[in-house]
Symmetry: none
Subunit: 232 residues, 2 copies
DNA sequence: AGATTTCTTCACAAAACTTTTAAGCTTTTT
DNA sequence: AAAAAGCTTAAAAGTTTTGTGAAGAAATCT
């Protein structure tokens, strides 16, 4: 791809300018904005080949822009996050994005990632996004989102709505650690986002009870200390 | 890279000469200037592979040179700052430098960083390498940031969060020395920045224990005396 | 409304992890 | 060769995270 069009949004002027400088040196066409509103307005008229978004913007979250973009477009997005923001929060919320970097970052590394994403995108552009399933089976455990049922070794599991959501989130992200923050976000949504209680732990306990799973040597829901829970 | 061309600008003659000495010993081609004007003049004619710039110069700030360079070039820049300029640490990085060191510094560490930057730069510039940003494999050692697992010769390694972060940082910077300060910054973030204890050393020991690695003849985590640790 | 189920909070115990401390060892410098 | 600086080790002390039981609040059902 020659002279890809790149959208850069960051309210810290120096950083935005710096990124622009580096990208321009690499012969990219840079469109730079210091706030989300202007960026969104521009996005209505034009479509970049890639976007670099800061998470913290004065008028809106970079996540919001990311979501808006994903509503109808599929080009790569790289998010910039502050170092002090908890890493779980980042991984939890950067799902719509294709990559992220923590500030302060090495400009050259950003360039490298921009190039990598552009390569990846042009390469797999044709490949469709993963289709979402309604039923997941994990060794004896069957969970169905459509009719909201769950069975374990053929026997039905009666789950409460919250329990079901948590288990669904874990199954959907099978093999990955899902942090408490992430679970909270998945189940309760962004507005109730606060993880300063052990609500999730209690639900996990109930889930494990109903699944006859122990906390020490669990068959399904495993505790990843200091990180979260996972099912493999 | 053989015989990289390196620009050194520092008005303190002893320091500039010292840096030149060390770099020359490493077979680099050094171009040394005691002020910014001469350096900029030289930059109009030639292009180095890397630059080491002092922040405090008699005629202009090192940042100015840095910015001038960044107007049309992308080679790595390492800034030298006085110890008391705490804020400049960040500003230096964000204004276009790729690394920085506070004076007084250990010459060996500067060399390590020069090498690291050169390696990184060539790495970034080499042909398309479809690398997985979340999973690194180093001869038998596999570390995955996404599912937070680590295996050594197929066998799972149970790591604590801190151990995991340290090992990740070392693997991510594979081949280059990571100083204790750098590790501290990577793992704990800037707010807890203080390296006047041997916390890291203890974690390194635990890591080596779990990896069945010895400190005398380590397979993975190697001690680079006076500088830090590295994995190759 | 009253009963039932579900969800959240709290306090405390247990487990796991991190940091500190201190002593011994190795490398580098003087 | 002695001194200084840096690294390793081990164990104790401190902290954080997770698990559990029980109780009260909120929602749902009858």
């Amino acid at each position: 791809m020659t002279e890809a069009k790149i959208l850069v949004v960051d309210d810290e002027k120096e950083i935005a300018d710096l990124i622009e400088l580096y990208l321009t040196n690499e012969a990219y066409e840079v469109h730079k904005f210091y706030n989300g509103t202007d960026a969104l307005a521009w996005l209505k008229e034009e479509t970049p080949d890639l976007a670099v978004l800061d998470v913290m913007l004065p008028d809106m979250s970079g996540f919001t822009i990311c979501q808006k973009i994903r509503e109808n477009q599929n080009f790569p997005i790289i998010m910039l996050t502050a170092k002090d923001e908890e890493i779980d929060k980042i991984t939890g919320l950067t799902l719509g994005a294709d990559d992220y970097m923590t500030k302060p970052f090495r400009p050259l590394e950003l360039i490298a990632r921009v190039k990598a994403q552009l390569r990846r995108f042009t390469k797999y552009n044709t490949a469709a996004k993963e289709e979402d399933q309604d039923c997941i089976t994990i060794s004896g455990l069957v969970i169905n989102r459509r009719d909201h049922t769950c069975t374990l070794d053929e026997k039905p599991l009666a789950l409460t709505p919250t329990e079901f959501s948590i288990l669904w989130s874990l199954c959907k992200n099978r093999g990955e650690v899902v942090s408490s923050d992430r679970l909270f976000y998945d189940v309760w949504g962004e507005k109730y986002y606060s993880s300063n209680n052990n609500t999730i732990m209690v639900h996990i306990r109930h889930l494990r009870e109903k699944m006859h799973d122990s906390s020490e040597k669990p068959r399904y829901i495993k505790t990843v200390w200091g990180v979260g829970y996972k099912i493999e």
